[in-house]
Amino acid sequence: MRRVAITHVAQSSGVESKESLMDFTYAINKEILDKAGLKREEVGCIIAGAADIFHSGLSCANAFDWDGIGAFLKEGSRAEESAFSFIYGCMRIMSGHFDTVLVTALVKGSENPDNDAITSFYGDPFYLRPVGLNESAVAAMQMRQYLERYGITEEQCAKVVVKNRGNALFNPYAHVKKRVSIKDVMDSERIYDPLKTLECSPKSDGVVAVLLASEKRARKLTGKPVWLTGYGSSMDHFIPGDRDLLNGQLKTAAARAYKMAGIRDPQKKIDVAEICEPYAFQELLWCEHLGICSEGQGGKLIDSGMTQMDGALPVNPSGGVLATNPYPARGLYRIAEAALQIKGQAGEHQVDKKVRTALAHSTHGFGGQCHSVVILSS
């Protein structure tokens, strides 16, 4: 298997864009190509990470996206979830066909209906949709089980918001930049009780691009390549009632990624993690499943301070999805942020420790129906 490196990263500012999606995309792709000193013609393959009509009002998202990602007459494709588009780009390099692949994930959340409306269309038209399920509703059910089964408190969940929103203040690319207290979170409206408004992620605009390269090309393109060392993904049952919402497929996805990366003790080995937490409590639950803490210990984990910016294993120094949620692009945001931490180029939100190995996680679907885990190393 050929090694694959992330050589460059570019991302849009978290501010809502007044530009059309096409121009919004172009600006970031232009930026990453300029950074790498490449013309678009010199890139081997170009892959978009975008979801179609429900996230854009346009069917076949790759059609409209094609110009902005610089793919005119280039070999290319599109994967719907941005972690998928990332790993697809990696596969293309591993296969030996390409030496460089540009992967771009994009969405303008500000133009779309809210996430609850969009995710309700994940439901089938006969059963889940008519009974009113969407991602937030299922997350709330999952949270209630989590609180009940392990005695996690709502305050412990609220602490995740305080931490991540606090981290976002130091990330120039974050969307929501406002410090909140535990009380603010606890007092915010209970929209899907026990979930409160401030525990749910916003809806953001975002374009993020990563340039991937084979080992030989990577060393020419950058002095600080970030290597892909592990990947794992797994799919759960469609109907939430068919699964244990507190024991889903993330463990399987993580086990696959750790095996590929040769990681036995993730808590020791991983220096920083970017975890996809569209709902605050999920960061704690996902940390358990990723082996960052043991089962039912998510509450203690946040209490311990270990996942704080200056802790032993910082989680979401970027502010995570609770601060910036360009839905289909958020997985690649996690990967890009993890890469920046390894490169030591995260700026003000660079963690205060040597980062050798970073974990990036992405999830989508009701209660985390599908998970992807990416391990990057220096």
Binding site: S59, C60, S77, R78, H97, P125, S233, M235, F238, F366
Partner: protein
């Protein structure tokens, strides 16, 4: 080329109006058939790739969730890849790259569509941008008609000649579909019937146009090692290419159609093909419209520009001709869009492995498959062969 990759099994549903099954069950039908064909079980599958046309077609978003069980993806890594009409080729390419990367040994690729459940033309219109072109869009027939008119005008093809050749394509595809138990439309038609059928968008008539079908297709890709172990006669991937043009219709020249031309060139280069008309034994071309099939012949290098009608009238691409095209009856007789490009690949694989039944082209060793997508924007090509 990287590691060798082969197709070791294919499965198709009976395409047509399938109101007898719900959408996930339709998907499962193709998956079960493909597993049986390969003689393996879900346990052997390392990953699953899914693709459909836009979710607006059936009104369910991100169908990899909905189909988790039906496509056999439970507890497995998945990929969701979509490129509009060319999705079928793109998911095939993803299956290829997944195995070629060494990250998986056996990958199941699934494409599906249930067009009877939505409004195909209204859906297609949402591929156009909402600011400039959607207002004037008339679904797929509108675009393909514009393209065909431009092509005939460019190469001074007399209207009668174009009409005659297109009618012949319709007749031979319908004849071929009689040999394909999966085909949606299975009726013989005559030249007169085609030429006098109801006008859809002039000069395109009803029998020049594909149906809207329900259907699914599954194809199983395996590494060289696994393929040799599991499968007596695998179909080897020899070359593949995918290209796209600008988004706005009208910016690129659709009579020449660079994306189709370049995608084919790339695939030929990898497969070491210099004279496709001579070297290929069979081609499964994405032909939702008879006139467009002729443009493809030219773009894919099967005949010189502007001469496709002559070649068609000579019978070059008919059953028994120099290069039989679409012995399955093609897209013209079955078009469950998300599956269609993969069906082309599955049919090509069946041909080079001698498993195509009544539609078998005798001794076929090298076959081309193709799909087109977007508003005439994307083209994908995959070439399969009987030899490694």
């Amino acid at each position: 080329m990287g590691k060798a990759v082969a197709i070791i099994g294919t499965g198709q549903t009976k395409h047509g109006r399938r109101s007898d099954v719900c959408y996930p069950d339709l998907v499962r039908e193709s998956v079960t058939t493909a597993l049986q064909d390969a003689g393996i079980t879900l346990k052997d599958i390392d990953g699953v790739v899914l693709g459909t046309m836009p979710s607006m077609m059936e009104g369910v978003s991100s169908t990899h969730f909905y189909f988790a069980e039906a496509m056999g993806a439970l507890n497995k890594p998945v990929m969701k890849v979509e490129t509009c009409g060319s999705t079928g080729q793109s998911i095939g390419h993803c299956g290829y790259y997944w195995v070629a990367s060494g990250m998986a040994d056996i990958v199941l690729v699934v494409g599906s569509e249930k067009m009877s459940e939505g409004d195909g033309q209204a859906t297609m219109t949402t591929v156009f941008d909402p600011f400039f072109q959607r207002t004037f869009a008339a679904g797929a027939p509108g675009v393909f008609t514009m393209q065909s008119m431009e092509w005939m005008y460019r190469f001074n093809i007399p209207e009668d000649k174009g009409r005659e050749a297109a009618a012949m394509i319709s007749v031979s595809n319908h004849d071929n579909a009689m040999d394909n138990p999966h085909a949606h439309i299975r009726v013989r038609v005559t030249m007169d019937e085609v030429k006098n059928a109801r006008i859809i968008t002039y000069p395109v008539r009803l029998l020049d146009v594909c149906p809207a079908s329900d259907g699914a297709c599954a194809v199983i890709f395996a590494s060289e090692e696994k393929a040799k172990k599991i499968c007596k006669k695998p179909a080897w991937i020899k070359g593949l290419g995918f290209r796209g043009e600008e988004f706005f219709y009208g910016e690129s020249d659709k009579a020449i159609w660079m994306s189709a031309t370049e995608a084919a060139k790339e695939a030929y280069k990898q497969a070491g093909i210099r004279n496709p008309l001579k070297e290929l034994d069979v081609a499964e071309i994405y032909n939702p419209f008879t006139y467009q099939e002729m443009i493809f012949y030219e773009c894919l290098g099967l005949c010189p520009r502007g001469e496709a009608p002559d070649y068609v009238l000579k019978g070059t691409f008919k059953k028994g001709g120099q290069l039989p095209c679409c012995p399955s009856g093609g897209t013209l007789c079955s078009n469950p869009i998300g599956a269609t490009g993969l069906i082309r690949l599955a049919e090509a694989a069946l041909q080079v492995t001698g498993k195509a039944g009544a539609r078998q082209v005798g001794g076929a060793k090298l076959a081309l498959s193709h799909a087109m997508g977007g508003v005439d924007q994307f083209n994908g090509v995959t070439i399969v062969g009987s030899k490694l």
